[in-house]
Symmetry: C2
Subunit: 400 residues, 2 copies
């Protein structure tokens, strides 16, 4: 045991342009590395307050119950579901990809009778279909859940219309905004979203490890009115709230360093301003799309449904998908993602999230991708590289 030695930790240089995590601003890394405070230290409680207040700003809400759950994004999903759902409840989930399916799986584990409205991967669900489905279900539906930004497909599902439909049926609306929060508008109050959850490692550009959630008064009341205890001790919001709220009752030891980092990451969002940040993401995605199309590649998603944080590209016939990703990583340190589920081997997922969403990264990715495709004998249009760069340039200058 004493003889067991590992080599020193070495982290190769990367440009993270996959579906998350994204690159992290050096200021956030510095915050992460600051010395520890105790989880009940008054100085740390002040940091918790700052984080809650800044999260309200990013979620565009005044919800009291707005805090980061001590786990990654999926823990945020689970927190919302296990607290809102009880065995025998009905839930309706809008599914257009892997993360919608994940909600279905999780809702079932809560003992909820779980129904689904589906769209093919790469498309969005028509709100009218949700309304029809709700009309067909017997008895009350506790909640409707939808993924705002489907990370497996790159589709932006409009959720605003779903709120009215859910509320007319007496249901809460729960929204997964893991890949949208901080990258495009998520207006919890204006859209009347009852509960939302996210992750830190996408457009907030903070390392993974925390899951911001927000519940409005209606959802909070639903938690308080439960007939049965929440099946998870760790994620039981009645107890978690006592720690984050006025009482400061010890529940579990918060991930202190991660909260330093989240505070700094949110500070960066506030400094940039939400509107400017959204505009930067829009430009990044438009530039990337223009460049990819100039190279003759096809995007999976129709323009009006594309995410500003994640672009999905169809792998051209005859090209080895995995080999391209390996070459990008090994030659240039660029990470992009492959497809999941039915899209495995068929698409690449290219993220332009948070700190990763920079013009220089988009240009580098396009050039490196073009090289990798050429190496597999796929001739891109003559001068595709420069044309891609031009497209980026024009799009980023005009905001077209």
């Amino acid at each position: 045991m004493q003889g067991l030695r590992m080599p020193d930790l070495k982290i190769p240089s990367r440009v993270l342009m996959g579906p998350g995590p994204s690159d992290v601003d050096p200021r956030v890394l510095r915050a992460l590395g600051m010395p520890l405070l105790g989880h009940l230290d008054p100085a740390f409680l002040a940091i918790m307050n700052d984080v809650m207040e800044a999260l309200r700003g990013v979620f565009q809400t005044t919800n009291r119950l707005t805090l980061p759950v001590s786990g990654t994004g999926s823990a945020g999903m689970e927190t919302v579901l296990v607290n809102l759902l009880e065995p025998g409840d009905q839930a309706l989930v809008v599914v257009q990809g892997l993360f919608g399916q994940r909600i279905v799986d999780s809702a079932k584990r809560c003992g909820a009778e779980t129904h689904v409205v589906e769209a093919p991967w790469g498309e969005a669900v028509d709100p009218a279909a949700v309304e029809r489905k709700l009309g067909q279900l017997p008895g009350p539906v506790k909640l409707v859940a939808a993924v705002h930004a489907e990370t497996s497909t790159g589709v932006l599902q409009p959720v605003r219309p779903l709120a009215e439909i859910a509320h007319r049926a007496g249901a809460l609306l729960v929204v997964d905004c893991v890949t949208s929060l901080g990258g495009c508008p998520v207006e919890v109050d204006a859209w009347e979203v009852d509960a939302a959850f996210s992750g830190t490692q996408k457009c907030l550009s903070c390392p993974p490890g925390l899951a911001p959630i927000t519940l409005n008064a209606r959802a909070e009341e639903c938690v308080r009115a439960r007939r049965q205890p929440v099946q998870s001790w760790y994620l039981d919001l009645t107890m978690v709230m006592s720690y984050w709220g006025q009482d400061r009752v010890y529940h579990h030891t918060a991930p202190i360093s991660m909260l330093y980092a989240l505070r700094e990451a949110l500070q960066l969002v506030l400094e940039e301003g939400l509107e400017d940040r959204f505009q930067r993401h829009r430009l990044g995605a438009q530039a990337l799309a223009a460049g990819l199309e100039a190279m003759g590649l096809q995007l999976l998603v129709a323009p009006e449904l594309r995410l500003p944080s994640l672009t999905t590209v169809t792998v051209p016939a005859g090209v080895e998908e995995l080999r391209v990703r390996r070459e990008l990583l090994n030659d240039c340190g660029i990470e992009i993602g492959g497809g999941l589920g039915p899209l495995k081997g068929r698409i690449w997922r290219i993220g332009t999230m948070g700190y990763s969403c920079q013009e220089k990264n988009v240009l580098l990715l396009l050039t490196a991708l073009e090289q990798a495709l050429r190496r597999q004998g796929r001739e891109t249009a003559p001068g595709a590289g420069p044309r891609a760069a031009d497209a980026v340039y024009v799009s980023s200058r005009t905001g077209a």
Copy 2:
């Protein structure tokens, strides 16, 4: 929103001598602040392997299923329980403090019929009482659970005898070693512990945010043989294992930075060597106890049951408990803990864990505590300060 600004993050200087988190070695903080890798990057997968292998060393096990859960210590507890227990199972929990009670609460939420063998806070449970209780229970018992190092009382519960008792009854033995792992022997294989969980922020001196767990083949088989799905999606080991195992199937995004930190913290444990590390903790606690007793203070726990990582001291009559802790924090930046539950206001909990367990910290704490007590008019024995320091010196030199 754009106008919303927070002051820069400032972390006051602290010496963490409470019940955890402990101070973190600067090398671990540096690892924490290294740039991100993707959670499926080959370089990151290698780090995961290193962490698993080093954890096996610290747990003194060859268990394949040894990994850090993506949450704090309580998430480790919940992971073990939700994966092993199914509704209708019987569980027997050994309770001598808050963290035993927490296991009871969590086991009940799994739908298990949960029985208890109790000892007063500050004492350990007699293994014979566990054996008697097992004999009285109707039908099979799925698991016996015990807290090795009870953080609420400072008691070391011997768990080795419990393994044989549990196994004779056909039950698994589950052990909470949150406050013991890395600070005193936790010999998972030699003691025949079937499942154990811990946290990173105690004797491993890594920031909070990960929960190392280990399950032996018998416990793993029990997970595989479940009749019902695990009630938690996030903590479902059949899926978590696929990510940490050979398959590397994406489950959730691992807390990457935290894993850098854990790797470095485990590296430090390996460099020091387990035996030397345990000896350092023993000396630290003995020195602290000698100093406290030289000051005329009384320890809560009998010498043979005292934890080497956490010492509990009775608050002298007429002394305001909270005022002392506030003064230690405000004047010297020293954090110690107060009592919980029935011990609230009655004890202090002083940690000597991991990087915090240094002679200079023990001496500083004793001197500062003596000052704080004098300010409340409590005369300590003449020359108690020097005598405390002497006691520390002698104890640390002789290992008495």
